[in-house]
């Protein structure tokens, strides 16, 4: 059991011990880093490949069709076929494009989403880099992706690309605020930014100490999840790449491998945000019987599945709805959630539960009342088609 739990840690140890026999001592720390990086670099594209397969399969089932089923059993080799197709496609750069920026954008979008994986605790003792400021690192790095998307959209010299890029900009900045606010509650209660400490703080009581079971944790989890769906530009928040409005948004002018990199960044982001939500609110790798990394994988899988489910269920937001949802609902909700977490921290147990629940319920009801449900649009006047 213990062996199985620490499988990957032991594997790394064996590799390091084997290397010790012929490598000089000063190189060993670098080798340790290299092994971790290699593990992430293999794991991340594999995840991405099978997430695309999963998404197509699940969406297919939801729409009453089979999804990919030609290549391999259950279409399991489909991602590989897709990869070959992407690699052999012609790489088109628009004539007017800003070549350097156009080339750099896909790179700049993938690197941060790979960096996100370095602070995730995949299992017991399985954080690649146990940073003191892990959570802050996660948020800081994830904010770089916005700029990469802008670079891609601007460098393409295409109005749809630029529109998509500006939409992505506005959306991701707006949703980052409630995202950070929802995370602040966890940091307040745990008193640390390290992802490992956050997981440790949720141990015990047979899973009842997961933060999602507290009032502030539940609201925080919902806020975090909604905002993370928006941060990775997935449906129903996919207005930056809405096909029916602006062709494909910021990656209209990308083809071949560069397009695949944008696609990869989206899926890696979806996975990393789900994993972070599991770490922050669902107890991370903790769970009975099964090995820790499997528990982590299961929780993350459930959240990723929910993201796909959302995509199969909801229509796209309108731009004004999107903005008012972030600023008029999620943002004040995040603020009152911080108040609730503060009260939770400073009052004894049964009272704290009641107070926090009431604060959150009242603010939820109040905010839904204050926000008008049906938006009255101005009467549209047509200038040319009258």
């Amino acid at each position: 059991m213990e062996r199985l739990d620490q499988l990957f840690v032991l594997l790394k140890k064996i590799i390091l011990q084997f290397a010790e026999s012929f490598l000089p001592a000063p190189l060993l720390p670098f080798l340790s880093i290299l092994v971790s990086i290699t593990a992430i670099a293999i794991f991340a594209p594999l995840t991405m490949m099978y997430l695309t397969w999963l998404e197509r399969k699940v969406i297919g089932r939801m729409q009453n069709r089979f999804g990919p089923n030609r290549v391999g059993i259950y279409g399991l080799l489909q991602p590989i076929a897709d990869g070959i197709k992407m690699l052999t496609k012609e790489d088109v750069i628009p004539l007017g494009a800003d070549r350097v920026t156009h080339f750099l954008a896909p790179v700049a979008v993938v690197v941060p989403s790979l960096l996100l994986f370095s602070v995730l605790p995949f299992g017991r003792n399985m954080t690649a880099v146990n940073l003191d400021i892990g959570l802050l690192f996660f948020i800081a790095v994830s904010s770089i992706g916005t700029l990469a998307i802008f670079m891609g959209g601007w460098a393409s010299r295409n109005k749809f690309s630029l529109l998509g890029a500006m939409r992505a900009f506005a959306q991701m900045i707006s949703y980052e605020v409630p995202l950070v606010l929802s995370v602040v509650t966890v940091v307040m209660i745990v008193g640390s930014l390290s992802t490992e400490k956050i997981v440790e703080a949720q141990s015990g009581w047979g899973g009842l100490r997961w933060f999602v079971f507290t009032p502030w944790g539940f609201v925080g989890f919902m806020l975090f999840f909604i905002c993370s769906v928006s941060e990775v530009n997935r449906t129903p928040f996919d207005i930056p790449e809405g096909e029916s409005e602006i062709v494909a948004g910021f990656h209209t002018e990308y083809s071949g491998m560069k397009f695949a990199l944008f696609y990869m960044a989206e899926f890696l982001g979806a996975f990393a945000y789900s994993a972070m939500a599991a770490t922050l609110f669902l107890g991370g790798w903790q769970g009975p019987l099964l090995p820790s990394w499997l528990w982590f994988g299961l929780k993350t899988f459930c959240l990723v599945f929910t993201m796909i489910w959302l995509r199969g269920t909801f229509p796209r937001f309108r731009v004004d709805q999107l903005m008012s949802y972030a600023w008029k609902f999620l943002f004040p909700m995040g603020l009152s959630n911080i108040l609730a977490a503060g009260i939770w921290y400073h009052t004894p147990f049964p009272l704290s539960f009641i107070f926090a629940t009431w604060i959150l319920l009242l603010s939820f009801i109040g905010l839904s009342r204050l926000n008008p449900t049906g938006t009255r649009l101005e009467r549209r006047t047509y200038r040319f088609a009258e």
């Binding site: 802050l136 800081a140 904010s143 770089i144 916005t146 700029l147 670079m151 640390s192 930014l193």
Partner: protein
């Protein structure tokens, strides 16, 4: 360590130079981002990881975005947004900058600086505690300043009814 320092220094200086010398405004802003990231690298080198993360979050995540937004709102958005280059006072500016560099570098060279590296690092916990105990007054003042700046920025940049009419009028005319 040394290699890392020189690499970072080159990157940061190139970024800063690009930000003030390039012709295309968006290129300037992108090169400014390189500069911000380089400074964050310096902070990591100096064992100030928390400040480095804050630098990335605020400068790369927010300030650069604001700058790009301002460029998009004030320039011809698509196509060549090249500038007419430098003003007439560039030679004066160059002279002044060179004088500043000489004076500062001379001052640094003639000073006996501490060369001893103390052990131990500053933890995030310590920063947080000091921020709400010893430095609680500056902290509060800063938060008032931020609120004021935010309200001010919104009020200044807000489209009032009058200049909105003006803008639509302009659009009709053209």
């Amino acid at each position: 360590m040394e290699l890392f320092f020189y690499l970072l220094a080159t990157l940061t200086l190139l970024g800063a130079l690009g930000a003030v010398l390039l012709k295309n405004l968006v290129h300037c802003a992108l090169s400014l981002i390189l500069f911000f990231a380089g400074i964050a690298g310096f902070y990591i080198l100096l064992q100030a990881e928390f400040i480095a993360a804050v630098q990335i979050l605020i400068y790369v995540g927010a300030v650069a975005t604001l700058v790009l937004f301002a460029i998009m709102l004030t320039q011809n958005v698509i196509g060549e947004t090249t500038l007419k280059g430098l003003g007439q006072n560039r030679w004066w500016a160059l002279g002044i900058s060179l004088v500043v560099i000489t004076v500062l570098v001379r001052a640094i060279q003639h000073q006996t600086l501490p060369s001893f590296l103390p052990e131990g690092r500053v933890t995030t916990n310590e920063i947080g505690h000091t921020l709400v105990t010893t430095y609680v007054l500056p902290f509060e003042v800063i938060s008032i300043l931020l609120t004021g700046a935010m309200i001010g920025a919104i009020v200044v940049a807000m489209e009032t009814k009058k200049n909105k009419q003006q803008a639509t009028g302009d659009r009709r005319r053209t």
